[in-house]
Symmetry: C2
Subunit: 443 residues, 2 copies
């Protein structure tokens, strides 16, 4: 298999059309998509033209949106128009967002009127809203349908994105309940939907896609009906789309927590310059923050000159502070994301993290005091021990509260947390350190 993939790669880069099309036909679709994501832009367009119609559509739909748009740009209009017509409206909108306006409007004008209307509806919702990610054509049941009629309705719409979760509507398209194909099958044939439906768990189309996706997944739903402001059904979010949204959100959170911008395409197909761009702004901001530590140390330069030994512990002390702060921030950020803690728990969180910080500080400070006292002298030990105690308490408390502060001002908790905490704790920790040293040594 590995060998086959290597061969495919060779065939593509040699522009050997016959060999490429033979090998591509032998790969399974997942492997093929994986391979396509690693090709250069030109290789991708070359290989794509050689795929059979079915495979081309599957590969096209499986590609990362950013790569899909690259592909569209490098193919001729006719080569892509048909695939575009076949896509789901939500995928189509994602693609349009990536394309230059001219290419997008040309593709849109080639659609059938119904498909164009569906696409426009999805595109009308705000960016990052669930309206953008839903499927706009669920199977519709009404409350007075019998189980037999409902089953017939399902059979007429078997091509819908999902036929397992079934929204139930009143005469004005208002959502009154949700049932499932399972329950329809379990019902007596003459029972009406109003008897076999549950209170609907739904979301409004303007709501944040990530929050809705998490709600859908956490409640173990296969799909969640999406309504407008008057509770009329406008679409449905399926669990696989919810999973994609959550995975994107996790990638974004993780990138932000490590102080870089999320990548817009798979790692290996992201150009090096884009990687640099995703990281440099954050590094500059953090380095700017870190000049604070230079100023702090500068203002204690006299103390340092008298006792160079103090400089030896600087990396260890600020490193420990940073680690303690990150632990607290990550724990609280995760608890917020999972709904295990809420912003109104701020008091409890502060108390818990302060307590954890004090305990950690006693353990680390005690050990640090002993070791530094033994290796250097007892007063050094005392300074190190006390500093660790203060830094750990400060770092855990600040680390625990920072994600809440971010959330309070409407920012993503992950953005704000770890690197900022580190920078703050570094500077504050140094001040504490030199003040304690000055007190102990009477400088």
């Amino acid at each position: 298999m590995d060998n086959q993939i290597g061969n495919l790669h060779n065939a593509v880069s040699m522009r050997d059309a016959r060999q490429t099309s033979t090998l591509a036909a032998q790969c399974d679709v997942r492997t093929l998509i994986d391979r396509f994501e690693r090709f250069s832009g030109e290789d991708r367009a070359f290989a794509f033209r050689l795929l059979s119609k079915d495979r081309a559509l599957m590969v096209f739909e499986g590609l990362d949106p950013a790569l899909r748009s690259d592909l569209v740009k490098s193919l001729r209009h006719e080569e892509i128009a048909e695939h575009f017509e076949q896509m789901d409206p939500d995928d189509r909108v994602a693609l349009i967002d990536e394309l230059p306006a001219k290419v997008a409007s040309r593709l849109l004008s080639g659609l059938s009127p119904e498909e164009r209307a569906l696409t426009a509806r999805v595109a009308g919702y705000p960016l990052r809203s669930v309206g953008r990610r839903m499927s706009p054509e669920p199977v519709l049941l009404t409350e007075f349908m019998t189980a037999d009629e409902a089953l017939a309705q399902v059979r007429r719409h078997l091509e819908a994105e999902t036929v397992y979760t079934l929204p139930v509507l009143d005469g004005q398209r208002g959502l009154v309940g949700v049932t499932s194909l399972r329950r329809v099958l379990a019902s007596e044939s003459s029972q009406t939907m109003s008897d076999v439906m549950d209170e609907p768990i739904f979301a409004r189309a303007e709501e944040d896609a990530e929050l809705v996706a998490r709600r859908c997944a956490d409640q173990g739903l296969l799909a969640m009906p999406i309504v407008d402001s008057e509770k009329r059904l406008v679409g449905i979010l399926t669990i696989d789309d919810a999973h994609t949204i959550l995975e994107e959100a996790e990638s974004e959170d993780q990138a932000r927590a490590s102080a870089s911008e999320p990548l817009r395409r798979p790692y290996l197909s992201t150009p090096v310059t884009s990687l640099v761009r995703s990281r440099i702004v954050w590094l500059l901001a953090l380095a700017l923050g870190a000049t604070l530590t230079v100023q702090v140390l500068d203002s204690f330069e006299d103390t340092l000159e008298q006792m160079v030994v103090l400089a030896l512990f600087v990396p260890l002390l600020i490193g420990t502070g940073g680690n303690t702060g990150n632990q607290a921030a990550t724990t609280v950020t995760r608890a917020l994301a999972l709904g295990d803690a809420h912003p109104q728990d701020v008091g409890r969180i502060a108390i818990r993290e302060a307590a954890v910080g004090v305990l950690l500080g006693f353990i680390l400070g005690g050990l640090g005091c002993l070791l530094a006292g033994m290796v250097f002298e007892w007063r050094i030990g005392l300074v190190i021990g006390l500093t660790l105690l203060c830094i750990c308490t400060l770092a855990a408390t600040v680390g625990g509260l920072m994600p809440l502060a971010a959330k309070a001002i409407g920012a993503d908790p992950a953005v704000f947390s770890n690197p900022f905490i580190t920078t703050f704790v570094d500077a504050a920790g140094l001040v504490i350190y030199f003040l304690i040293a000055a007190a102990v040594f009477g400088l």
Copy 2:
């Protein structure tokens, strides 16, 4: 609503049984579970006894496994035996794992023989394997069943964990295909399953639960059949169980990446001492690693004494190195988790990250050189600039390769990465810094 929750909390802590049961009956189940996760152990047991039978089961199943086991320990055998019988075999096994052996065997002995057999089968698979998390009773179709017979079979088993993904078996329970209720409904009534099934996408029961769950979710499946070593069907993993597994795995990765052990229960119900325990071992290990920086600085003490100004930049330099390393490590770890990159891409990753590091180093180093040169003197600027260039290159390369190294030795990439990189980059960065300083100043 918030008020009602506050009232419930009061009623419980006052041990007001009538008020508690009235208020609990008014809450929706999700809120109730959320509330129960925040109660103290005694409050939880008190409130649980006052729930109606239906609600008690729903709350019990919705609780975090660790809290469920706390609850079992504080209730009498009869109070819990019935709920235990109602649970799915996989949930039952998760609970048993948390319970003391005596309590567990007492509960197990109360089960009906069939339920006990199912539980034993699930419990027989290795920890962390998907066999532990699957539902052991899928709806079974055989390849010669007609669509009508298949539909009848589904109707007979509507209580199964899923009826939408349907494994198709041969005469020896061997998995030969997978179909869906949708396709069964779309078939002519006399078509056999062998005509409407696809090649099965399946997993073996011994496989790692996280990997299987990701496969299931990434491929957009609603459920994945699980087979034994001879490809006989033993169960099915549903997407909602897959989601739970992935969420646990994310929590674990995030905890590890910030150098703490994952928590076994929701944040606010984790005792402070457990929080301390989840963090202290890592902090000690990292502090021990950081003593390396003390030694490095100690060995350059003469240089430091001659030029205390060098000490001022230590936090900024190692901070920037740590940030650069973390960015690279997080990006590569995420790419590995999503399957966007594989261990065999080690060469490409190393080249990309080295290139990114050099570019970042030029930008940051250039700026650092200018600024430090202006504020201090040009030779200081030169030292800072060169050091930043070297540190960024080193940090990005090491950061990018570390997750691969972790994976190569079979460790979780997240465990190994960020804090270890920081410690390593700190020490190596200091050596580089003082060597460059010595060269420039001819010390």
